[in-house]
Symmetry: C2
């Protein structure tokens, strides 16, 4: 009975599998899901396209796994942030902080993971992050409502609102210039905004992450006028209170 996979062989195969997964993730980060064709992934992993199908049944399966790995890793961090001690309010602030910091840091991956348009594909899998994140927030908000720490808002709707808001605010204009803004400041702004959306504007009590307090401190700081320098992109020179036609950029026709 000639041939039976030996240890060395199995090891090499495992390595190949990992190489393909890595190549896929790298490509997603560099070029988005759209730029990650099977051919490119295979090339990057230094195998032939045919070999790819020896390790994965389809492209979808591959990316389902890629997204799952990244998603799981990140959701775990968020979950931890949600459970480490402190008041609900502090925990919410921490969760937002963890998310915002990660998204700003690993912008490309975060974008591919939760914001990039991908029609069919592993789209289902991809939504796991959003859903999971929403679930964490929903739990925290429900806890706050139950403890009468905030107005009796609907946890599900509010959680959805917050997640959508964060994603848009952080990843919305995925313009070329990435580090154009003071990250720290942006994170604090978002923490404060979420805090206000859920708890209103009474001052944050405890300590812990302090992020919210810091940002809100800026707020009561009489020196600031508005605009505050954080702009998301150096768009309009002034945050004019003027109407600013919403139809700009839309051809009259």
């Amino acid at each position: 009975m000639p041939y039976r996979p030996t240890h060395r062989t199995l090891t090499r195969q495992a390595e190949t599998r990992r190489r393909i997964l890595d190549a896929a993730q790298t490509l997603v980060i560099e070029a988005g899901y759209r730029g990650a064709q099977v051919a490119s992934v295979a090339k990057r992993a230094e195998v032939a396209t045919g070999t790819f199908y020896r390790y994965f049944p389809s492209k979808d399966e591959l990316f389902a796994e890629v997204f799952q790995l990244a998603t799981r890793r990140e959701l775990e961090r968020v979950a931890i942030a949600a459970h480490r001690g402190g008041s609900v309010r502090q925990r919410i602030a921490r969760v937002v902080e963890v998310f915002a910091r990660w998204a700003l840091q690993e912008r490309s991956l975060a974008y591919a993971l939760i914001a990039e348009p991908l029609d069919s594909a592993a789209g289902q899998e991809r939504q796991a992050y959003r859903r999971g994140y929403q679930r964490v927030l929903k739990g925290l908000i429900a806890e706050a409502v139950a403890g009468e720490l905030c107005a009796p808002v609907d946890p599900a709707i509010t959680a959805a609102f917050v997640v959508g808001g964060l994603v848009e605010a952080v990843l919305g204009p995925l313009s070329p210039e990435a580090g154009s803004t003071d990250q720290e400041l942006q994170v604090n702004t978002l923490v404060a905004t979420v805090d206000r959306a859920i708890f209103g504007d009474s001052a944050l009590e405890g300590s812990a992450s302090m992020a919210a307090e810091r940002a809100m401190g800026r707020v009561t700081d009489g020196s600031s006028k508005k605009g505050s320098g954080v702009d998301g992109r150096g768009s309009s020179p002034r945050g004019e209170a003027a109407p600013a036609s919403p139809l700009k950029g839309i051809k009259p026709l």
Copy 2:
């Protein structure tokens, strides 16, 4: 010089053009952009595919126009809501209300217009709505900040946050069951949430739309416990304050 288009001919051509546009919009509403291939549009408009290219240079151009028409129509309504009298706070509430009500009513169109993943295509055009809507809110928020009616938040970031939040909260789970929730209630909840996110939780003063006040009134209504019946989808039976693992639905692997 034989032949020169007569009036009747020109009229018929204009009609054909409109038929194609209508067919395209209808298809987008019914099947999303993905289900709107040139062949389908042509068939629906009762012309041959070749004829289509006699009226539009490309599929992209067609949908750019389709999106533009819908976008412009809707943005105008929002802009009007933003300018009709009342305090800034009231106007913001009205803008949110107009948006939310429209999105809930014309769910499919709204989804295709601002939430459906569409990779390349007329994607640029499509973003016009989001951007325009953001611009309106940014203006209003800047006005509020200038008048010191709210904390000196960053108008751009806050506007992005609000738009993203609304889109997610209204169109996020575009599940089959559309009218599963009390629309009015959902609108009020959102108006209240946005109001809180921008102005904190002091009571809304004026009158006008009153939507926010109504929703906030519910809030101080001692009878409601939490959950409030509005859930976005009949997910978990109870909005348990418990952790609720965020990793649910993600295979261990």
